[in-house]
Amino acid sequence: MLALSVTMFAELANGQVRYWNSSRGKQMPEAEVRFSHGLLPLTYDFELLEWNWDFQPASVTDQYYNLQTYRGNLYSTGALSMGHSIKVAKWLEMGATLSYAGSFRNIYSSSTNKVIDRETSRSFFFTPTMRFAWFNREWVRMYSSIGLGVGMMISHPYDRVRGEAAEPYIEWGPSVQLTGFGISVGKRFFWFSEVQTIGTLGLFTMGFGFRVVPDKRRWQR
């Protein structure tokens, strides 16, 4: 899937260049594709959303059934993202990012300590993004960005009281990403990292990208 995505986004960028050249007879603006991995993305199973405001202790029935299983660690893949953007001004890039974030945990039987089921959730986000480059050099760029889009989470929970997999459900919601500080280093092939971020792409993001720079003078306008 990663290889397919890389090919797709690279072809998209090249296609834009060819189309721009052929149809308008002039250079297209700079475009880039990015592939990244973000740590701790916000998804719709974020703990705060599930907080139980009912402070009553669990019923004995629930306690009894809950003791028959226990949950393993909750693992996350982080946010795996790929994005495409076009430089519309020296200081402004516009584009969109597709992201995937998965999490899973095993459910164990208390009596045998064997895995009896697995809870999973898979989140997909489409996030149109504006990137503001406030430090712009040929090799190094620093920027901030904001993104707003939509997302969905497919969840397969386990009902410990009933002792069986619960009905899977899909949740839709907004996808928001705010980046305080981002830095990219490189020219055509570059590395980048973003910190001071919060949102569906993760709290800390790192990745690489390819930049198509057809006309250096245009890039410097």
Binding site: F35, L67, S76, G78, G207
Partner: protein, 254 residues
């Protein structure tokens, strides 16, 4: 680079649960079962102590009252004795409950401690010297009493019990419970009083020996029929060691 960052930052979002003991669900039900029996014995003990006070010589009444009911006063009204500050009403039948054939009734209008019944009623019938049968619609226990010598507790007796019963394990403020526990004392269990908190008048009964079997069912799931066997290996005020066999798996608890 990508693989490196994935490896580095793919992470544990939340630690898993502590691994419970294999018989912990059974232990939960046993704790509630022993508390249920303890509550029945506590209600019985109040009636027996009242009778000891009623039948005591006039000169000793104050002494017994201080020992057995240090935080309450005894009040009689319309055929029932009430301990002030407690929602309990004891109905004598005109005979000492230490006399074979006597039958008293004990009613709690509120839960004794934390139990499933919001109102609780039981009969106490003397069957022999220091032997009683206590019962209501949900249980029938034969008990034998041995006087408590220590003035450190306000309890009247140590009880050896046999019999069976059933109850809904739960807390009185949770009406949504749906488990039913049916218990049978398969080897006489001895319950000793233990004070809790800083006040000697507050006590409960805890099992120091005996065996009990419990069946757990679910009113909404007929497939649930869990078996619990409990054997008390040793008991003392500081430590009770017991063995629980839950659905065929045995573990020791203390």
């Amino acid at each position: 680079m990508m693989l490196f960052t994935i490896t580095l930052s793919s992470c544990i979002l939340e630690e898993g649960d502590n691994v419970p003991k294999k018989t912990e669900a059974g232990q939960l039900i046993w704790e509630l079962t022993s508390r249920e029996i303890s509550n029945n014995l506590y209600a019985t003990d109040l009636a027996l102590k009242l009778d000891l006070w009623l039948t005591a010589p006039e000169a000793e009444k104050n002494q017994w009252e201080d020992r057995f009911f240090p935080d309450s006063k005894l009040r009689y009204s319309t055929g029932a004795w009430n301990l002030t500050g407690m929602p309990v009403y004891i109905y004598p039948d005109g005979k000492s409950i230490h006399t074979p054939g006597a039958r008293w009734k004990v009613i709690f209008t509120e839960p004794v401690f934390m139990q499933s019944n919001t109102e609780f009623e039981m009969d106490v019938e003397c069957t022999d010297n220091l032997k009683w049968n206590i019962s209501n619609n949900n249980f029938s226990l034969n008990i034998e009493g041995k006087r408590v010598d220590s003035p450190a507790t306000a309890a009247g007796y140590i009880y050896t019990t046999s019999g069976d019963g059933n109850f809904i394990p739960g807390y009185y403020d949770r009406p949504d419970e749906r488990l039913t526990a049916a218990y049978a004392i398969t080897q006489s269990m001895t319950f000793h009083p233990e004070t809790f908190g800083l006040v000697s008048s507050r006590y409960m009964f805890r099992p120091y020996s005996g065996k009990c079997s419990i069946s757990v069912s679910d009113t909404r799931n007929s497939a649930v029929n869990d078996k619990i066997l409990v054997e008390i290996l040793s008991g003392s005020p500081t430590r009770i060691v017991y063995k629980i066999t839950y659905n065929g798996i045995t573990e020791t608890w203390d």
